[in-house]
Symmetry: C2
């Protein structure tokens, strides 16, 4: 099965898939079971680039409530990170000075063992909020994870999972005009996931030589088209973190605004979009992924797409395989206060169900075909508003019994 | 059992409860089973004031997508309504000119039979969106409901229910300084319920003599403190409608800015707040009602309270009786992008769990008492943000398996 499974993501022709847990040259990863997760699972991961001239870029959650690892990472050298320390089982949020101290202790331990300055170590923690993250366990876990460093990311991928059902990773070889480079990425995310990307991590490595400025640009653009276009439950996390690292060991240099940059960007774009959709398909309790495309007035499309993607009525209808276009209209109307006349068009799976704001009568055969189409794992809605200049998309998971079970019964 | 059951609503001392389905003098109500609801339930209700000098006030949903009954009602004489026609089973939304024609037909039929101008008949429909409301059934239902007009609202209350488990109504006698008046109200609402009030109806009648201006003021103020402070699922409906009618048959005149106005306002306020909380307690699948109080900076309190009340993570924790303060903080943080430091205090059921942004360690006994407290039918959260001048509250229901079942399996 190809990594690029979604109907909404195409593998670019210059991209070929490698072993999903492989790494580009000069990167190593390791993991340990530190006892932060109660069940003996791997819960601390370390990623390192052995190349001193590594460049990096980072993005963090936009929440006003930030985890200690985000606060400490932001004070570091985000354009020249050499290593990442990640853990699951505890997000280290709302624990005051104690939490900040623990994040710094993990950062310091990794820096010392790896022989890099502490400000070149990025941090990422995920799990329960508002509980003490045991400092001794984390620091010992960092040591143990570093002892296992190797050229496979499987342990790292396992160590960052929380409610995820399965690891999310890929490794691809990319034929740039100037030569072949490799890009790998490891991600997690299943719930507390929305907009300005949410409890999700994505660590991306490449052996291309990319300036920090160009890497930051690529990071911003591809995150904006992937993790920022998804929602499981409309909930922005305290801990979302994306790190891109480029170490140049391939000898292929990607110059700004070059054909190489474009080709590398296309590869990363496909990789991140598929990873983002994986998070939705693995969204807490999710059974289906929807895509809402909204076209129309430039100011209107974004709030409407978000309102539809986050409507529990739309999401339960997606779960129930109900082509309930009334709820799409209702959710859109909610974001369009004072917007008259409400002359919208709505297509579901390519069938026009609403035209000029009024329902279009369907014959029995058309309705039955539609009922079949919305049972698929991926369902598409296209909404056209009056006005021009705007077009956006949001991917979203459905709202299921298992979401309620997961979130009513477990403390996260 | 008193109508004023919630811990958050007090019966004012000058208010006494009458038979809940009674009406003030000069009002009559009726209902019929018109076959719009498939199961033979009452589905069309009519309310009428026999007094030609009746004043009225109205409020409608703020959605950009408006039901035909809202569009037609808004063109009427909203300050001198004499009658209301309501139906369940079909909201008459997104049916274009045909839907508008059906709303006008029902209005015309009621006007003719009751001998009042058509612009003095308000309309309200609730139920499925995007399907044709059968005009013949509705018009025949209006006729049949008018044939049953009497001094009891039970039929009317039944006729407006959709997913509501039980009717919501009250009738109270109010001792104003200038004399005794009566106020009755009938409401519906269980899902698609949020902010600027949502698929909810509330029809309120009083035999006080109140100018249209004063009634409008009372309507605006009391709706703002009740239906606009509640959320089941954050979903604004296409059809929310509030009608206040005052017919003066008591002979007690309520002058603007008088002690009578204040006393009447207090009575209506308590009535509407209890009705709003009833809607939450009867929210689709709801098992508990929460109240989030937010104090702090004037601009911050409202988005934070809404973010908490609408968070599926907070709502599933309420369902699971989990005093999960981390999710309250996370939801608040989502509404406070760029807000640092995040020095908030959080009390749950009177216990301080977070102070200055950091969790406060609880001893075992305190934690156990808290776990008991959050199992109650009503749970209170108080969040204090930095800054001053703002204070607000939002009431919300929990997110349960039954919400998912109701909304995945039924087309609404």
């Amino acid at each position: 099965v190809s990594f690029f499974r979604s109907r909404w993501v195409e593998r670019p022709p210059h991209v070929s898939e490698a072993e999903p847990t492989a790494l580009p040259g000069g990167f190593r990863a390791g993991a340990a079971a530190a006892g932060i997760e109660p069940n003996g699972a791997l819960d601390v991961g370390v990623l390192v680039s052995d190349e001193p001239e590594t460049t990096s870029a980072a993005r963090f959650t936009a929440s006003g409530l930030l985890g200690a690892p985000v606060l400490v990472s932001r004070q570091g050298a985000l354009d020249q990170l050499r290593a990442v320390v990640a853990n699951s089982g505890n997000a280290n949020v709302a624990d005051g000075e104690r939490g900040l101290g623990t994040a710094r202790a993990a950062q310091g331990e990794a820096a010392e063992r790896l022989g890099v300055p502490r400000e070149q170590v990025g941090l990422a923690s995920t799990g329960v909020v508002g509980r003490e993250l045991p400092r001794d366990l984390l620091v010992a876990g960092v040591r143990a994870a570093i002892d296992t460093l190797g050229d496979d990311t499987d342990g790292l991928c396992q160590a960052i999972l929380t409610t995820d059902k399965s690891p999310k990773r890929a490794c691809v070889d990319v034929a740039l005009p100037s030569g072949r480079v490799r890009v790998a990425a490891q991600a997690k995310g299943a719930g507390m996931l929305e907009p300005r990307f949410a409890t999700m991590f994505c660590f991306l490595e490449t052996d291309a030589a990319v300036s920090a400025e160009t890497l930051d640009l690529l990071c911003g653009v591809t995150v904006a088209r992937s993790f920022e276009r998804t929602s499981v439950d409309g909930q922005l996390s305290t801990s979302d973190t994306v790190f891109f690292l480029a170490n140049g060991t391939s000898g292929v240099r990607v110059e700004p605004e070059s054909a190489d940059e474009l080709a590398l960007g296309e590869a990363i774009d496909a990789l991140l979009r598929q990873l983002a959709i994986e998070m939705l398909a693995d969204g807490e309790g999710a059974s289906r992924v929807g895509r809402i495309v909204v076209r129309g007035g430039a100011d209107a499309v974004e709030p409407v797409a978000r309102a539809v993607a986050n409507s529990p009525l739309v999401k339960t209808a997606l779960y129930g395989a109900d082509p309930n276009f009334g709820r799409i209209l209702q959710a859109a109307g909610m974001a369009l206060t004072g917007y008259e006349p409400f002359a919208v068009d709505l297509d579901v799976e390519g069938r026009t169900l609403v035209s000029g704001g009024a329902a279009v009568d369907q014959d029995e055969a058309s309705w039955r075909a539609l009922e079949e189409a919305v049972k698929a794992p991926e369902v598409e809605y296209e909404l056209t508003l009056p006005g021009e200049g705007g077009e956006t998309e949001v991917f979203f998971s459905d709202l299921t019994h298992d979401y309620v079970t997961l979130n009513a019964e477990y403390t996260t």
